[in-house]
Amino acid sequence: MRETMRLEMGTFPITEATFGPRTELDGTRLVIDHDELAALVLENGFFRRVRIEIVSPGESARIIHLLDAIEPRIKVEGPGETFPGFLGSVETVGEGRTHRLGGVAVMQSAEIPGRGKGGLLMVREGIVDMTGPGAAYSPFSQTINIVLTLELEPNFSDEEYDRTIRLAGLKAARYLARTTVDRRAPQYRTYDLTISCPALPRVVYVHQIQSQGTFARTFFYGKPLDHLIPTLVHPNELLDGALVSGNYAYQSMKTPTWLHGNNPVIEQLYDRHGRDWNFVGVILSRGHFYGISEKQHSANHVAKLARMWNADGAMITWEGGGNSIIEAMLTIQALERAGIKTTAISYELGGADGTGTPLLLYSVPEADALVSCGTYERPLRLPSVKRVVGGRTIRCDPAKGGHHLPAHQSLQLDTSLQMYCGTNQVGFGRRRGIDF
């Protein structure tokens, strides 16, 4: 028997972040050398200026023009690097020891010019409110956020902005995590799929991501997953940052890099591993194929992989909206028809007042165990805030040409599509729909 992949994750919980003369960890306080971090971010020449701000839970603050959110992580032992393919080689990760700063997110905020106005592949507004009714929409109202507000040099292509903004965020995250090297973490947890009780049912996680093109893309070891056919991956690869998000198309339904590394479903499956079931692995798939035959094929292939993997049960989540629910539903159908018991997490519709039907754009009768993670369809009023980070105005309705509203004021939103992770479907949140 060869060794299985075993990852030890050391967590350094952070309770406070401040700027100081030297970037270091002082107990649970993260001190950041502003100028050194700024120099790191600016070194690629694509940004004219960066403004670095710390935003903490409970503040009357609003973060806007938000792009990705990244947890500071660093590989301290074992093969590869965190965020492989971007910060290091494509060596397979998921073994050895990784350190993370718990409760911290590095975020990039930038106003990317909306040149290809209209269509899917454009950056849409993303908002995090740290307090008030908007706070429940995002896990990042609960994290200490290091926001890099990037002022872009003009005249680069969408692809260049996209890539350099991502690298700036990932590098900043690793830079902050470097404070933990040579230290012992207050908490360690080992992630290992070794099966000690073979009689338990075998469960897989079907992780359907979105990857269609620039600004609506997910990367695996730095490689775009635009053409992904379902494949089997080890959950530890994801804990080590093998999945990186470049998806800014609809900020409410996206899965940022931070959540790919802290996927609550993987957490649940590991928590119950060896007790309720044996967690056997992750099937990575993508939605948004353009043809029904490709959608059906993707679903069939997931089910077949799960069957070859002798799975008894599956949990499925999907990223994005509309179109991608078809792959998800067909996958549930294919899994259930293969005798694999499946539950899924989905957002729902319901219209502005909750009376619209149906609740899902597409469904199959086999989808009999769905967990709701709320909806984006209800209007939402955000109160005024004292502090705005990431810009001054909110860009609304880019498809209609865009109009700008002062961001600190109270905002009446038709839907919560702009609320960052508001209907993200990996299940971090407690919002749900229910019959009244």
Binding site: R2, E3, M5, G85, S89, V90, E91, T92, F220, Y221, G222, K223, P224, D226, H227, L228, I229, T231, L232, V233, H234, E237, G281, S293, E294, Q296, H297, N300, H301, A303, K304, L305, R307, M308, A334
Partner: protein, 432 residues
């Protein structure tokens, strides 16, 4: 997943008024098949000829060779995605006509002048020194297709391929309702857990920038894919087949895909000497080294997740795609998975030159299936199917030569199935 393959061995093919199976004689209504093929506007004219092993016959402009297979019970169809929906195949009962192939012969207009996308000549000799691959030893029903002008290479590829698949399907239909003389069951039954677990990593190159990126999986072009874990029965049912742009030596025919001898051998050994875990379909020929390395690493990791102790790696194509082969061997060995790699060699016309273009120290168990580089002379033949002339070197001279004459080939690339990537035969290279 349990698949029963029923074989109807064919000993002779004759043209007749009705298409039917008469014992081991396949009777074919040529007219009916020609009409079916000519329904496609991309095909201006079709003719059907018969080529028999041992004859002094040469088939030219070979695009592919397809084995007639049909699903008679269970989900899906044979050659899914192309001949029917994408239902997962590999279960139920499949019938095949044994010992024969539908060979496609078509000369593509030179829409793509040079490079990997250009159609290259492929020659299939039914006897003599050029009768190298398995499809030189099958009864071949040759569809000679004249292509209509005004379409794209992608259109032609699809039309030629579908002509072959439709004819193969029609012929396999003759077995419906009949009991196959030979029957074999393919199933990855649970076996003794102490046996070494073996995975077959089958590498395929594809080129996603081409109009027809060559390889299809359930009818979808394999493009920018990561390694794919599949059930061997899916391959037996034709889920994975090449395109029909040209069937030269480094591009095995569809017939070889569904009869892959490594899969057959691993099935035979399953439960006896080893536990066969399945197949990893591994796309190669990435453009960037990082991507090659990633795909190699991912194949090795997949094998590890599957619990493999050992792996057999094969590849097809030439040049570039070989790098993934070696990197995969390296990644597997580093994961502690004992690996055997099968490849042809180069070595130049005389065998003096380096046999392999790129190597890694971990590749310590290589099976040689012969050389691509050795010169070969094909003698003159009595009969040519597919045309009168051929062009062996369109990029250099563009010279057209009579197809029936002696052909002095500097290497074996223009011979259809001229390289035995998957070990049908016993040809190897040894050091002198």
């Amino acid at each position: 997943m349990q698949l029963d393959v029923g074989t109807f061995p064919i000993n002779s093919i004759v043209f007749d008024h009705h298409t039917r199976l008469d014992g081991d004689t396949l009777r074919i209504n040529r007219h009916e098949l020609i009409q079916m093929i000519q329904e496609d506007p991309c095909i201006e004219r079709a003719e059907i000829e018969l080529a028999i092993p041992g004859e002094s016959t040469r088939i030219i402009h070979v695009c592919d060779a397809i084995e007639p297979r049909i699903k008679v019970s269970g989900p899906g169809v044979c050659y899914p995605g192309l001949m029917g929906p994408v239902d997962t195949v590999g279960r139920g009962v499949t019938h095949r006509l044994g010992g024969m192939a539908v060979v496609l012969s078509a000369e593509y207009p030179r829409l793509i002048e040079t490079g990997v996308g250009a159609a290259h000549e492929a020659i299939l000799d039914m006897s003599g020194p050029g009768a190298l691959g398995p499809i030189a030893h099958t009864l071949n029903l040759v569809l000679v297709l004249a292509l209509a002008s005004g379409y794209s290479q992608g259109d032609y590829n699809r039309a030629v391929q579908l002509a072959g698949l439709k004819v193969a399907h029609r012929l396999a239909q003759t077995t419906e309702g009949k009991a196959p003389p030979l029957r074999r069951r393919y199933e990855l039954t649970p076996v003794d857990t102490t046996l070494p677990k073996v995975v077959y990593i089958s590498q395929f190159y594809t080129q996603l920038n081409l109009p027809a990126p060559y390889l299809t999986w359930y009818g979808m072009y394999i493009t920018d894919w990561m390694p794919l874990w599949v059930h061997p029965n899916e391959i037996l049912d034709g889920a994975l087949i090449p395109g029909a742009v040209g069937g030269d030596a480094v591009r095995p025919s569809s017939w070889e895909y569904v009869n892959n001898p490594i899969i057959a051998r691993l099935y035979e050994a399953h439960g006896e000497a080893l536990a066969f875990l399945g197949v990893i379909v591994h796309r190669t020929r990435f453009e960037v080294f990082e991507e090659k390395q990633l795909s190699a690493n991912q194949a090795a990791k997949l094998a590890k997740l599957m619990g493999a102790d050992g792996a057999i790696v094969t590849w097809i194509g030439a040049g570039n795609a070989f790098i993934e082969g070696m990197l995969t061997v390296q990644a597997l060995e580093r994961e502690g998975i004992k690996t055997v790699f099968m490849t042809y060699e180069h070595g130049g016309q005389e065998g003096w030159e380096a046999p392999l273009m790129f190597t890694v120290p971990e590749a310590d168990a290589i099976i040689s299936v012969g050389s691509l580089d050795r010169a070969i002379t094909l003698p003159a033949v009595e009969r040519v199917i597919g045309g009168d002339e051929l062009c062996l070197d369109p990029e250099a001279s563009g010279e057209r030569v009579p197809a029936a004459g002696e052909l002095r080939l500097p290497w074996r690339l223009p011979i259809a199935s001229g390289i035995d990537h998957w070990g049908f035969g016993r040809l190897t290279c040894i050091e002198y």
